[in-house]
């Protein structure tokens, strides 16, 4: 019989600041920060003992230095940090933004007829081989290393940028990047370091920013104000629910909207760890709205995802998941407004999956301003409360048609594996797929003889989601790319990597929770591996680019002779239901 261990392994319980943002932050740095606005004005007494102001600054911030022309953030990138200028200045490039080449990206160009035909012979090249002319990086920008070894991209011709673009100057004491960090939206501007010498920035990761806002009213008010001014009005202008409002009414709504975030910002890391240990389980997801509660307001999902569920037996059954742009609770509030004598409570529970950023339009604002503006045909149907909630709940869910065609097991499979994030997921019908690998060969022939996916992945019933980039709605792979090599293509928002500016830092490779990015050793035209000064092979991050440059769309989908493979937006259950029942 195997011997039992005599003493159980004892480990310290993991703490929030086990991994500080930067190991280089010293007590002196913190002392210095506490003498600078806005930290100088913050009252340390308002912070709880578990998260004192001093520890937040020591663990959730880091000081960075940038030299003139170095890009601090790029328009369209995703980031999890806000910045405070400690010394020096930074310049914001207003519209029109910098061209793709200056942002480390590829100019979006569809292949012409000749380039398409040229693949007949270029497909014979060694896998992932690049001509030497492409190793030098993008024109107009250069790359250099910062003191902390991070790769930095700098503009080579700053005067030209100043001549050709409208810019604004920001000086020490100013914040930027806080809205994108808190709402997980793409950065709206490109910002670079200005002036002679170096500028110093304080980078605050989102957890720190969240706590600072929580315990310091001034900062919260400041960021709320910026949010309402910069982000909210444009959002309300674009949302169909508010399109009948006058400008004045829209401002009234904006001034009374509340915003909130739920869940963990770095959910992808947790999910990836769980997936790697094979213990993925739907964790306790924070409740945003509870079934049976009074409807306090319409919840508008701005970023992230929510799981819609309803009580079923002793538990809760998933009915749907919803993403950005969806209004939750509108049906109940509209019902109560039209039927004040027969009010209903919330019919479903909404939970945050991963990370969710949302806006809440209070019921009073809905009833007084928004609902009266909507034409009768745009109002949702009245709610018919269910007599026996445990019996046949699916019949009362608005997306009944989808539910009829997608089994509860498939819905649970898609939700627990976070596949709703994919806007172009590779789905395979196992009842049609003959495992011929024509899709893999087509991908290889289209991409330098290196197939960019694995025809295998998690499966439920006859649905398999293959290991290919899903072009996520929430692309966590794009967080932290130092050169902007991974970016959204301007054609239709596909996530692509520019091999020319990829510096093989592995940030995207490590971030992708689905393991859809691979590091591949590159070769020269002769097929020899390219080595660096230390004689280690140079690599690049590669992934499915949805054949963005090819005419006709994804080669994998077009190459399947049995119609077994499709690229589907899994955030749209209608599309999936239609495909499964084709």
């Amino acid at each position: 019989m195997p011997a039992m261990p005599e003493v159980a392994s004892i480990l310290e319980r993991p703490q929030r600041w086990d991994a500080p943002f930067s190991p280089d932050m010293t007590e002196l740095d913190v002392d210095r920060l506490l003498t600078i606005a806005p930290f100088r004005q913050m009252s340390a007494d308002k912070f709880p003992k578990r998260t004192p102001l001093r520890d937040i600054l020591a663990n959730d911030t880091r000081i960075l230095s940038f030299r003139q022309g170095e890009i601090i953030m790029r328009q369209g990138d995703y980031g999890t940090s806000a910045y405070l200028i400690l010394s020096g200045a930074a310049r914001v490039i207003q519209k029109p933004g910098l061209p793709a080449s200056l942002l480390g990206r590829k100019e979006p160009v569809k292949k012409g007829v000749f380039q398409t035909l040229a693949q007949l012979w270029s497909a014979r090249r060694p896998p992932e081989s690049y001509p030497r002319s492409l190793w030098g990086g993008s024109k107009g920008v250069g790359t250099r290393q910062a003191e902390n070894q991070d790769a930095r991209v700098f503009l080579q011709d700053v005067p030209r940028v100043l001549n050709e673009h409208r810019t604004d100057l920001m000086r020490d004491g100013e914040f930027f990047g806080e809205i994108a960090a808190l709402s997980r939206m793409p950065r709206t501007s490109t910002i670079y370091a200005e002036g002679e010498g170096t500028i110093q920035l304080l980078e605050i990761r989102w957890q720190g920013l969240r706590d600072l806002m929580k315990y310091d009213d001034a900062l919260k008010k400041h960021i709320d104000k910026i949010y309402r001014e910069r982000a909210l009005n444009s959002y309300l202008n674009a949302h169909t629910l508010f399109r009948h409002l006058t400008e004045d009414q829209r401002h009234q709504v904006a001034s009374q909207i509340e915003f909130a975030t739920y869940g963990e910002y770095d959910w992808s890391g947790d999910y990836k760890r769980l997936a790697q240990t094979g213990t993925v389980q739907p964790e306790k997801e924070p409740i945003i709205v509870q079934q049976g509660d009074y409807p306090n307001g319409v919840v508008l999902l701005r970023a992230g995802f929510g799981r819609v569920g309803q009580k079923f037996g002793a538990g809760e059954r998933t009915l749907n998941y919803i993403g950005a742009g969806v209004a939750f609770g509108l049906q109940e509030i509209a019902h109560n407004w039209r039927n004040p004598n027969a009010p209903v409570n919330m019919q479903y529970t909404l939970r945050a999956i991963g990370y969710t950023h949302l806006l809440v339009v209070p019921t009073r604002v809905m009833e007084q301003i928004v609902l009266p503006s909507l034409p009768a045909h745009e109002l949702p149907a009245a709610v018919e409360p269910v007599a026996e909630p445990a019996s046949d709940l699916a019949e009362d869910f608005p997306a009944r048609e989808q539910r009829d065609k997608i089994s509860a097991e498939t819905l649970e499979f898609l939700t627990s594996n976070r596949f709703f994030n994919g806007t172009a997921s590779m789905v395979i019908d196992l009842e049609r797929c003959t495992r011929c690998d024509d899709c893999v060969r087509a991908c290889a022939a289209t991409h330098d003889n290196n197939p960019r996916f694995l025809r295998h992945g998690p499966a439920s019933g006859r649905l398999m989601v293959a290991n290919a980039c899903m072009h996520c709605a929430d692309p966590v792979c794009m967080i932290g790319c130092p050169t902007g090599a991974i970016h959204r293509e301007s054609f239709a928002g596909q996530v692509v990597i520019n091999p020319v500016t990829c510096v093989a830092c592995k940030a995207c490779f490590n971030n992708c929770p689905y393991g859809a990015i691979r590091m591949v050793d590159i070769r020269d035209e002769t097929g020899q591996f390219v080595l660096d000064q230390d004689l280690k092979p140079l690599s690049k991050a590669t992934k499915c680019d949805l054949c963005v440059e090819n005419r006709g769309g994804p080669a994998c989908e077009r190459a399947c002779p049995h119609g077994a493979l499709s690229r589907i937006n899994l955030n749209n259950l209608d599309a999936l239901a239609k495909w499964l029942n084709r």
Binding site: T434, G552, A564
Partner: protein
């Protein structure tokens, strides 16, 4: 409300209707012109050869996935229904008679093999994926040898490794399981009969061993049985997936042979007839 027809069903009916109409038209034309056109066989021969060339374009399309040349699914539909139509044309070309002579018989045999292998392949590609899905345990074909090797190693460690205790298990492994884990087993039984008889017999024999084992060894036996079930599932996938790949190794070479013979047939016909005059 009438539910709209589903895509695959629509595809089937569209192909079938086009095939029936085209076949009817070909037979009618053949009937009408047979007596009037002296070179009717030349015409049917050229149309037949043209159709055969069209069918080979599916493979060419597969080799050029980066060109925007319709979806492979569309090409396969053309290939399937065009293939059935080509059979009708072939019969018309033969005037519904069995040909004479070694060359013509060989050509006909090649055509028959290509046609039958194509139909068998079509049936395989519609039936076997469903069976694979029902069985579960999806695995990449290329990974099967590595997984098989891993199962073998695990089984060997259980009965022959450092922790192994029972000579009964070791003897049984050497006698019954070593061969089973060494390579693919029961290929045809899995493919044709979907038979579970061999694995059930093996598991029954293993269950019979229990009375000879200590409690600890019985647990090892349970693990061995689990490995045997996994190996059987792997063999099932190997059998069906290999068949899905291998039928093309009959269909394609015979197609090349058929096209070469058909070309030679054309040359010979023109050499001895002076062409269609």
């Amino acid at each position: 409300m009438v539910e709209p027809m589903k895509r695959f069903r629509k595809q089937f009916w569209r192909g079938t209707v086009v095939f029936v109409l085209a076949s009817w038209l070909a037979l009618e034309l053949h009937q009408a012109w047979q007596a009037r056109l002296p070179n009717e066989t030349f015409i049917t021969g050229w149309v037949l050869f043209g159709c055969m060339l069209l069918l080979t374009l599916l493979n060419a399309r597969k080799k050029l996935p980066f060109l925007p040349l319709l979806r492979a699914e569309t090409w396969l539909q053309i290939h399937i229904y065009g293939g059935f139509f080509t059979v009708i044309l072939f019969l018309i070309h033969l005037h519904f008679r069995v040909p004479h002579g070694g060359f013509d018989l060989t050509l006909t045999a090649l055509f028959g093999i290509v046609t039958i292998s194509g139909i068998v392949g079509l049936i395989f590609s519609r039936v076997l994926p469903r069976r694979l899905k029902v069985r579960g345990g999806e695995v990449l074909f290329e990974k099967i040898p590595a997984i098989r090797h891993s199962l073998k190693r695990q089984a060997e460690n259980l009965v022959l490794g450092n922790q192994a205790a029972s000579p009964v298990l070791a003897e049984f492994y050497a006698r019954r399981l070593a061969g089973f884990f060494a390579g693919p087993e029961n290929f045809w039984l899995h493919l044709l009969l979907e038979s579970r008889q061999p694995i059930n017999e093996l598991l029954a024999d293993m269950t019979d061993l229990r009375r000879l084992l200590t409690e600890t060894d019985a647990k090892v036996l349970e693990q061995l049985m689990d490995l045997a079930r996994q190996k059987d599932g792997l063999d099932y996938h190997y059998s069906l997936q290999k068949t899905l790949k291998m039928w093309l190794f009959v269909h394609l070479p015979f197609t090349y042979g058929l096209m070469l013979f058909a070309l030679w047939h054309i040359v010979v016909v023109f050499a001895f007839s002076g062409g269609a005059q």
